[in-house]
């Protein structure tokens, strides 16, 4: 486990999850890849498979249609896998929490290790949140 955590701190593989989102948080996550913020220089890489993921970046409030799928997704991720809720909707449901299709927020379905509030949180906030999470790992 210690080796994995050490490896994780050096190079984090991030998988992006989205459900019931307005897409602003998703775009800010993608903005982190672009030249201005360029998280790849920190070793953070966006991966295409949840099985390779160290960190799940979760956006959006969760809709009923996707809730069971999110759970399955988390179960398939190799542990330890840290879940980060990005944006107001992912942290608490935000402005949509009274809706009839609302099944979240994420911490009702899967364990969440870090919350990054904002609507949407700036890329700097997302990077700061990820770094803060890593500094708590022993």
């Amino acid at each position: 486990m210690k080796l994995k955590i050490w490896g994780l701190k050096k190079s984090i593989w991030v998988f992006h999850v989205s459900s019931g989102a307005c897409n602003n948080c998703d775009i800010e996550v993608l903005n982190c890849l672009t030249p201005k913020f360029d998280i790849e220089r920190f070793g953070m890489v966006l991966v295409g498979s949840v099985r390779h993921a160290d960190v799940l970046l979760c956006c959006g409030c969760v809709t009923k249609q996707t809730a069971p799928r999110i759970k399955r997704l988390y179960e398939q991720a190799a542990k330890p896998c840290f879940v980060v809720a990005v944006g107001g909707c992912a942290c608490s449901g935000g402005i949509f929490r009274h809706g009839y299709n609302f099944a979240g927020p994420y911490d009702k379905i899967i364990p969440v290790h870090a919350y990054i509030p904002g609507c949407p949180p700036k890329p700097e906030a997302i990077i700061a949140g990820a770094v803060k999470l890593l500094s708590t790992l022993k």
Partner: protein, 408 residues
């Protein structure tokens, strides 16, 4: 097409149900179906529980990239219901915010289209050129997205005239790269080979499916809410509606590229208007919303956004109907995707610029064998990128042109 591919970085849902269902005959698409609902949040119902003013904040969050389009249409609807006329300065403010949003939205699309074709350099540069616009938004409104600048009766906050030099500089810095990319794209033989004649939406289909926005204008249907029903500053400033005739993906790309220049023109003129109306009121006094109904629409980057409100004189709407442009553009896939090969599906789907909360996984049914497979959006994009490479020319010519231009 034979393996189950795990989910891509944009839409990571792994299991059923399929979102797009394609029926193939060999490599050709013969039918298409679509399943929505993954992002359905019940906003129309939520809107009935909020006050008229609170609704503006809810409505902004329908879509992140059309963040100001929905509030403008909503405010137009309520102002139509109550017969409110907004002050001149508010018209300039609304148009500036709306057109800046159009610029960053079209640049976002340009980047994604580049990625789908294998031009990752274009993706990176287009998204880099978006950043100064987002920074400008933060400077003049307080946030990169979800600006909360709209209010029934005008604008919620003023744009301080001391920001005008920053706005002008941002636009001037953008025009050079835009001209370079437009010229590079219009001349590029690989883009011509990949996009011309692909995903054609004929004019009669565009009318039948009632499509809107650049999707319609690229098929020769010259509709644009800003011209047809001028509101905000669109009737005051000079600008042109951009149309093309061919209806293919290349035409849609050209419409979006040329529209960006029109947006720059509009913003420059509106900024002149801000200088003229310094110190003037930017919001009308609104006491209450009388009983009645109102309709408002606005030309979002993707097309017409339509809002209908009904009031019974109380503080909350009785009914608030919202229609986003992708809702009517989406079914036109039935006309534009059929007859295409599977490697062209990704770029055809992307050409209507769907709010990509819509594009998830795809299922393929091989009509010959009757076997059903699942294919992810990432795999579709990969097929599209492979097709570009197979054309034998260097796929990232545009990337090299951009880099030479930057280094000049």
């Amino acid at each position: 097409m034979k393996t189950v591919i795990p989910i891509g970085p944009y839409h990571p849902l792994q299991e059923e149900p399929e979102f797009f269902s394609l029926t193939l005959d060999g490599e050709t698409v013969v039918d298409l179906d679509v399943r929505l609902g993954y992002n359905h949040r019940g906003i129309e119902k939520l809107a009935e529980t909020k006050t008229w003013d609170q609704d503006t904040f809810l409505i902004e969050r329908i879509c992140g990239i059309c963040s100001t389009s929905h509030p403008i249409a909503y405010c137009n609807a309520v102002e139509d219901c109550a017969g409110i006329e907004i002050p001149e300065r508010a018209k300039y403010i609304r148009s500036i915010i709306g057109e800046l949003e159009r610029l960053h939205s079209h640049l976002l699309w340009l980047g994604l289209a580049g990625h789908f074709l294998g031009y990752n350099t274009l993706f990176m540069w287009a998204w880099k050129w978006r950043e100064p616009i987002l920074d400008l938004f933060e400077q003049i409104t307080g946030n990169r997205n979800h600006y909360a600048m709209l209010k029934i009766g005008g604008a919620r906050r003023d744009i301080d005239n001391e920001h005008i030099p920053a706005i002008r500089k941002c636009l001037n810095d953008l025009v050079g790269p835009l001209e370079m990319v437009t010229k590079a794209a219009l001349d590029d033989p690989v883009l011509h080979a990949r996009l011309k004649g692909v995903g054609v939406l004929k004019k009669e289909d565009a009318i039948k499916y009632c499509v809107v926005g650049p999707t319609a204008r690229a098929s020769g249907v010259a509709i644009d809410v800003r011209k047809d029903e001028p509101h905000a500053a669109y009737g005051i400033v000079k600008w042109n509606v951009i149309t093309q005739e061919e209806g293919d993906v290349f035409a849609k790309a050209v419409v979006r590229l040329l529209e960006m220049f029109e947006s720059v023109k509009i913003i420059q003129q509106c900024v002149d208007g801000l200088e003229k109306t310094k110190g003037a009121p930017f919001c009308a006094e609104v006491e209450n919303i009388p009983p009645g109904e109102g309709i408002g629409h606005y030309e979002a980057p993707r097309g017409e956004t339509f809002h209908y409100v009904r009031s019974d004189g109380t503080n909350r709407p009785v009914r608030h109907k919202i229609r986003a442009p992708t809702y009517v553009n989406l079914p036109s896939f039935k006309a534009s995707c059929i007859g295409q090969t599977i490697s062209d599906v990704a770029i055809t789907l992307a050409s209507i610029d769907p709010c990509y909360c819509c594009t998830e996984r795809v299922a393929i049914v091989d009509r010959g064998t009757g076997r059903k497979e699942h294919i992810s959006q990432e795999k579709l994009i990969h097929l599209s990128q492979e097709k570009t490479k197979k054309l034998g020319l260097n796929p990232d010519r545009i990337g090299r042109k951009i880099e030479r231009w930057i280094a000049r």
